[in-house]
């Protein structure tokens, strides 16, 4: 193996850091407000005043891009955190308690995985009603089964191991067992899954926004900003191209990171 796996992870981390910096520092660097409407500058092409031009309502595209970036990163991280919490809790419960709880949790997991991921998210978001919060919940619920499966498998393999039996016999308290043996062992796998899920979460929230099931106008969100400006795609392509490229770069950053982490992990296991 060459150094590329780590180079991939590094490239992902650098890209992510740049995006995060732009999202955090952007509002201080970009003068116009993302919501400031200007009737004189509808669909203005990129210029020194508006680096990425303006949209159909005369709003500065760069300002919306930066505001959308904060939103996207926050939303992605929250979605994965929710999915992680629900999935790991259910998975550990299934793996540790076993019996009926295990059966019920795993069958529900199977059923949820029987839906194409985006279809499940769309159906849930449609039932709950169009809003960013509901879209986030829908995507998180769709991602949770993956975390449940991983943590259940980990819990089962750890529970069967001798040192856990020994620790249990020695009277180690349950919460300490949980943290020290179950969760920490599963963490590398779960974090790789989380990095991969972040990419998926951003893609799906953007897709829901694009379909009108996510963020509602005038909130700056990349997916919704693309669909809001579809009519002027031909005359002013920069309005949709900017958030489109941004979605791609953000997802790319997390996927590079996940790929690098996976490669590094398989190398460690191959050596051991």
């Amino acid at each position: 193996m060459s150094v590329l796996p780590n180079a991939t992870a590094r490239a992902g981390a650098v890209l992510l850091a740049l995006l995060a910096a732009a999202a955090v520092l952007g509002p201080w660097l970009v003068a116009p407000s993302p919501d400031a409407v200007s009737v004189e500058h509808l669909l203005a092409p990129p210029s020194p005043a508006h680096w990425l031009g303006t949209d159909m309502l005369g709003r500065d595209v760069l300002a919306r891009l930066v505001a959308g970036g904060r939103m996207t990163l926050l939303v992605g991280i929250s979605v994965v955190a929710i999915a992680f919490a629900i999935g790991v809790f259910a998975g550990l419960l299934a793996g540790l308690v076993g019996g009926v709880a295990d059966q019920v949790i795993m069958r529900v997991t199977d059923a949820m995985l029987a839906f194409p991921a985006l279809v499940l998210a769309i159906a849930l978001a449609a039932a709950l009603g169009p809003s960013l919060g509901h879209a986030m919940l829908a995507v998180a619920l769709g991602l949770a089964p993956h975390f449940a499966r991983l943590s259940r498998a980990q819990a089962q393999s750890v529970a069967a191991s001798l040192h856990v039996t020994a620790a249990r016999a020695a009277g180690v308290p349950a919460h300490w067992l949980l943290w020290r043996y179950y969760l920490r062992g599963a963490l590398p796998t779960l974090l790789t899954q989380a990095s991969l899920s972040l990419g998926t979460a951003i893609l799906q929230v953007a897709a829901l926004g694009f379909l009108g099931l996510g963020a509602q106008p005038p909130l700056a969100e990349w997916g919704a900003d693309i669909s809001a400006n579809l009519e002027c795609l031909r005359s002013a392509p920069w309005v949709a191209a900017a958030p489109g490229t941004a979605i791609f770069l953000a997802v790319l950053a997390f996927n590079l990171l996940a790929d690098g982490l996976t490669a590094a992990r398989t190398r460690i296991t191959a050596r051991a």
């Binding site: 029987a114 997916g223 791609f248």
Partner: protein, 337 residues
């Protein structure tokens, strides 16, 4: 042997399908407030709401509602559209072939792109081709489907004017469907102009869906192929002095594909999700566009029915893929028998 396995596999899918029904049933009950009032929108009268409550049996206990729903679905009745008042089973059956045609075309296209890419990468792992393909692959799975769709539409449709960017066929060539698959219908009628027209409409949306599938599948197949190239039977073939080309294509590839098949199944599901976005952008009259229209019309029975069909297709495809894996690799048949 395969029949026995398939039977077990189908039986195992029944509890999953039952839970899928529970989830789809629950969808309409998750609507905040009175589902009937929400479905009919703010303009509805109290009598209209009461009538819908009665049709949905909302005043009965949940278990009775669910039993009724299952019996209905078992009879092939997927409910009535709130928008058109037509049975949904018929409406979905009309849309179904369009999505299948798109998905099959995308899968074929993805395999055509991914298999040679995986072979090129696996023959020299970590060579420059492998590294270049790795980056292309990661980039490929990072592209939002609706963005690829819009970009292809802009470049090949609006800018170059080479390909049509909407619908499945040119209106002046429209004929009543035979199979509903435009390409197959054109062949059955022996019309070359219809065939070319259908393919021209198909290529861009299929390419959008294929790009994602090809990107992820080629990475998987590469890893599996590298392992297969070190398998004993491949080393034996090499020792016998078989040409490298024959070793890779005939001996290694067949076994390298098997472990990737379950993942193809999962990715087929992702592709169905992507089809919703692609169909929306290309006005492709399939299940995906139907779903999005249903969402805009707040036609909940239609959303439920479409969701159920998507899940059913996904379950059937994963069973078929398992059967295909069994056919490719006889060693798998021993397992649970």
């Amino acid at each position: 042997m395969i029949a026995g396995y398939l039977l077990r596999r189908v039986l195992a899918a029944i509890p999953v399908l039952a839970l899928v029904l529970v989830l789809v049933f629950a969808l309409a009950r998750m609507i905040p407030g009175d589902p009937a009032a929400a479905m009919l929108g703010p303009g509805a009268s109290t009598t209209q709401i009461a009538a819908l409550r009665q049709t949905m049996r909302l005043d009965e206990p949940l278990t009775a509602q669910f039993t009724h729903y299952v019996v209905q679905v078992a009879h092939g009745d997927l409910g009535i559209s709130l928008k058109t008042g037509r049975p949904l089973a018929g409406a979905l059956a009309e849309k179904f072939p369009a999505t299948i045609e798109l998905a099959v075309a995308a899968t074929v296209l993805a395999l055509v792109l991914a298999i040679p890419a995986a072979v090129l990468a696996a023959v020299r792992p970590d060579g420059w081709i492998d590294n270049a393909l790795r980056v292309i692959g990661i980039a490929g799975v990072s592209l939002p489907a609706f963005l690829t769709a819009l970009a292809l539409q802009a470049v090949f449709g609006a800018w170059l004017g080479w390909l049509p960017v909407a619908l499945r066929q040119s209106p002046w060539l429209a004929q009543p469907p035979i199979t509903g698959l435009a390409v197959v219908d054109a062949v059955l009628r022996g019309r070359l102009d219809m065939l070319l027209d259908a393919l021209a409409h198909l290529v861009l949306p299929a390419l959008v869906l294929a790009s994602f599938l090809a990107a992820s599948f080629s990475r998987l197949l590469r890893a599996s192929l590298i392992a297969a190239l070190h398998a004993p039977h491949v080393r034996a073939a090499r020792a016998r002095g078989l040409p490298a080309r024959a070793i890779v294509w005939r001996h290694a590839l067949r076994f390298a594909i098997v472990p990737t098949l379950p993942v193809i199944g999962i990715q087929f599901g992702d592709m169905l999700g992507g089809a919703i976005l692609t169909e929306t952008v290309f006005s492709w009259p399939g299940l995906g566009r139907f779903t999005v229209e249903a969402i805009h019309n707040r036609d909940y029975p239609a959303i439920q029915a479409a969701t159920l069909v998507f899940a059913a297709v996904f379950i059937v495809v994963s069973i078929l893929i398992d059967a295909f894996a069994l056919w490719l690799d006889p060693r798998l048949r021993g397992g649970g028998a």
